[in-house]
Amino acid sequence: MIVTPPILARLALVVFLAVILQLAFFSQIPLLGSVANLVPVVIVALGLLGGAVTGAVAGFAAGLLIDVMIGGTLGVASLSLLSAGYLAGRWREGYDIVSSLVPPLLTGALCGVAAAAYGVLQLTLGIDAEVSALAIREIVVQALLGMLLAVPFYPLIRRVLRPALVEDTDRGRPRISPDLLGRGMRFSGLHTSRSAR
């Protein structure tokens, strides 16, 4: 991802809207005994599209915003979300997204990781109350709902950030023939791979 000031503004807006939408909408609609969590879905999408640093920084910022707005212990949500964003980015840097099923499945798994990390952090910080085994169900439900949310939201975020995506800016331009390249025409840097990213 090429991060320019306008793209940075778009990233910030995406994170801010995700947090607002989560607190004012998704958190107030009970589903399967839990609530859907849009924020890790968005962070994982940013990690997948922008890499580990983008995912981690976006996760940190989103977590901070959440903790400020709901009055949580500062840093807890940041740590869990930055881990999800970073892992998504590392995946993106190591592997190609070879199928359209990969983003939802990966998002589901990383939403589970974020929910588990949040729970472990809260336990580490000291909770006197009994912890029910149903907390594990919560993690599974969060993963499932995250996977479902990724189906519409991953393409949407990709569309918003399209100008910054290296493989997408290349899309739609006429292919340069190997002959021209062979004649010494310089073609700088960008991926020419047309994999199903």
């Binding site: 609609i29 580990a52 707005m69 930055l82 109350a129």
Partner: protein, 287 residues
């Protein structure tokens, strides 16, 4: 070049993790009026109008989803409810007779008369936003210190206790629900029942645990719990007395367990809160 990128990535990761750990550390150790808390409250105040606007704009969509949900639920539950209503009507008649016989109504009148709730002012509010984790159950409401709300004020619905105000800004307040990990409510069984502590069970938001029960009296299924609200040795309970909390859904006798295990189902529907009331002291001291 690649190594440089890896080093940069690792450095940023380490920096962010250290920042998180520092924030956690400071957030836990600093006093409630500390600088970080003040910044948190300040930012929250600035963002609350945005949150309020988003809440209002998205309400029709929430209502629409709620309507679908309720319609599906209502169809499924219709038959079940019909038979339940018939059984409850019979049970109600039986209970009324039993209550009159046992002088229960007289006790109830006395309870209301001695209740401290008359001295509290009521501030009605709506939910603006809510946390989304079973580990941290908070909601944000659209009333704050400008409406007379203060930290630790009790929050109720028509059904029962919801929680207490944990933070206040000018126009909003954050409410820690009774299902939050750090919550503990001194409670007693309505009537002449024993006193104990109602604490949450993490992961099971529709369930509370009635523990540290004092006295020899056993708690039974169907018993109703209300806030105890007592003061002792200069310590004041956080909640006024006699606010309904919930109903005992399961009470395992003490013979089978080391102590009596009592599960409580809260009266208030904490998963679906919309309108609620904050009991404020109106600036004065309520006894």
């Amino acid at each position: 070049m690649y190594r440089k990128q890896v080093r940069r990535r690792r450095a940023i990761l380490v920096l962010l993790v250290v920042a998180c750990l520092m924030l956690i550390s400071i957030s836990i150790s600093e006093a409630e009026s500390g600088p970080l808390q003040s910044i948190q409250n300040g930012v929250s105040s600035v963002l609350s109008p945005v949150q309020e606007g988003a809440d209002r704009a998205l309400k029709p969509f929430r209502d629409m989803i709620g309507w679908f949900d309720e319609t599906i639920d209502a169809r499924g539950e219709n038959d079940e409810l019909r038979s339940e209503v018939a059984a409850l009507q019979q049970e109600n008649l039986d209970l009324q007779g039993a209550a009159e016989e046992a002088g229960y109504l007289k006790t109830l009148e006395k309870l209301v008369a001695t209740s401290g709730l008359d001295g509290y002012e009521r501030v009605n509010a709506s939910v603006l936003g809510r946390g989304f984790s079973v580990w941290y159950s908070t909601i944000v409401i659209d009333a704050g210190s400008s409406d007379g709300i203060e930290k630790d004020d009790a929050v109720v619905t028509a059904d029962g206790l919801v929680g207490r105000v944990s933070e206040v800004t000018g126009g909003t307040a954050k409410v820690a629900l009774i299902t939050q990990g750090s919550s503990a409510v001194t409670a007693r069984v309505a009537g002449e029942g024993p006193i104990g502590l109602v604490v949450p069970i993490i992961g099971a938001p529709g369930e509370l645990d009635f523990t540290l029960i004092q006295g020899d009296k056993e708690v039974e299924d169907g018993d109703e719990l209300i806030t105890a609200g007592f003061s002792s040795d200069g310590l004041e309970a956080r909640f006024p007395s006699d606010i309904p909390i919930g109903k005992v859904s399961e009470a395992i006798p003490a013979e089978q367990e080391q102590r009596q295990q009592v599960s409580v189902e809260p009266f208030a529907d904490l998963a679906d809160l919309d309108a609620l009331t904050v009991l404020t002291s109106g600036g004065g001291t309520v006894e």
